[in-house]
Point group: C2
Chain length 290, copies 2
């Protein structure tokens, strides 16, 4: 245990001395950290002065002075908010956007350098995802999204890869019954993503039709997020959505090569039923009445 603590502290030393230089990649363009942080916040889409102030945790006097500084440098313009002229809105000038882009480039270059000098970049990325997800585990949010959006496709691709690895026969999505995207969009169904600070880490689809019966599809949680009860959260949200769409009965199919999935279904009120489709991959079928 003491040993474990030492390992964490070693990690902290490593990231604060090496990465510390990374997130303060702001530095190196001759601007003080404070105004660089404000410039970046505006570049990333924050507009209202109060929102930026809260986000960066700045005193209102300091914030005001930093804005005046950036303004006199010609990096930003400010003006009253159209719907409440007590509030002010900040926007980048062309010059400001150029400076912001330069910060982005520096930050991206440093990230690229980490990957480039390691023989197993995928392992680095997976480890980083795990740690970032763990540190932000209380801020994981579930959002509804079109399954054709890139974030959703990211999860689906990972899901297919995992089935490919875990099924003894491999997995070819073309041989399976790939649901129509429109069946997983309101009003017929929904597609839900679990997001951890802009990274999609899990998904589930509710594939509805015209009647009161719908299917749960594509339940997946990233290895980085396993153990956090995210699958249960996703399923609960999918069931809530189903109820609101007037659905009374849910079905799903799965494979005995994914025992943790079947265990979850049994624990949350699903009961095993007979095969209800001719998809070649599943060998277990469940139903739940809402």
């Amino acid at each position: 245990m003491t040993d474990d603590i030492q390992r964490i502290r070693r990690f902290n030393r490593a990231v604060t001395s090496e990465v510390g230089a990374l997130d303060t990649s702001f530095l190196g363009l001759g601007r003080p950290l404070g105004s660089a942080r404000v410039l970046n916040a505006i570049g990333h889409g924050l507009q209202e002065v109060g929102v930026i102030r809260d986000y960066l945790g700045l005193d209102s006097g300091l914030m005001s002075r930093l804005l005046r500084g950036l303004e006199s440098e010609g990096m930003i313009t400010t003006g009253p908010s159209p719907d409440d002229s007590r509030r002010r809105i900040a926007q980048l000038t062309d010059e400001g956007r150029a400076a912001f882009t330069e910060y982005e480039r520096l930050s991206n270059d440093q990230a690229r350098a980490i990957l480039a000098r390691h023989p197993r970049p995928q392992a680095i990325l997976d480890a980083m995802d795990l740690i970032a997800t763990a540190l932000g585990q209380d801020r994981i949010e579930i959002i509804e999204i079109d399954p054709r959006e890139p974030e959703a496709i990211h999860c689906l691709t990972q899901y297919y890869r995992e089935l490919e690895r875990r099924f003894a026969t491999g997995f070819d999505v073309n041989l399976s019954r790939d649901p129509e995207a429109t069946d997983m969009i309101r009003p017929r169904g929904v597609f839900l993503l679990a997001m951890s600070d802009a990274l999609p880490i899990g998904c589930v689809g509710l594939k509805g039709g015209d009647g009161p019966v719908a299917e749960i599809k594509r339940l997946w949680v990233s290895p980085a997020a396993r153990g956090l009860k995210l699958a249960t959260r996703l399923m609960t949200r999918a069931e809530d959505a189903a109820r609101r769409l007037g659905i009374h009965t849910l079905r799903l199919d799965t494979n005995s090569a994914l025992p943790e999935a079947a265990a979850l279904y049994r624990k949350t009120g699903w009961r095993e039923i007979d095969r209800f489709n001719d998809d070649p991959y599943p060998d277990m079928f469940f139903e739940k009445t809402l």
Copy 2:
């Protein structure tokens, strides 16, 4: 690729906002960061003012003032170095040691909190080891050590666990011919550890006897360090040590369940020979003439 960069930057945000608070655990005891860093450096065993200054990257004027501050707080005493009285040596007073211990406790508590709130602490630790090792990959050092020291035992334990996982029959070290520690210490042999910032991440033993033939034992590299060519480095260092001990012939045994090991041996001048012992685990035997 762009996606990967975003994942690294997300990691950076996560560690600088959450862990950032962790390594600046210095804060919170009402002392400015600068003097807290100096106090911690002294607590961790640095004594000479010049060494501390270089380690922390401080200006000599600033360093001097920080020392005077800590001195007037009663945290440290300074005096001339016995062998060169231009140099000064700093030491903690009882009060200073108490403050240092308090910093250590805070830092340990925060590390413990990260483990406590995650369902899979081992996964967190493995991920942290991987990242810290990757960031410090240019500073990995190979040291000679007594195989009965805790750092060596850490590696050996991990090694046995890995064999247990990978051998179809499992692995019980008591059934194997566990070499005597004294056979892996000079003048009969050596035991080498690869260290990454105080964490042992690999080992190899050279088990010698009275004659010019010795055996390579316990070659292991942590999953956190794989791909970095560390096994090759360890083997090269072991062969160098063997030559200096007057050994002309090296032997080793291994198991075909560890194909990457056999591949390494073949690539580095070893040739397969007949079984030379009756250990129940190995099924491949190699020899190399130095």
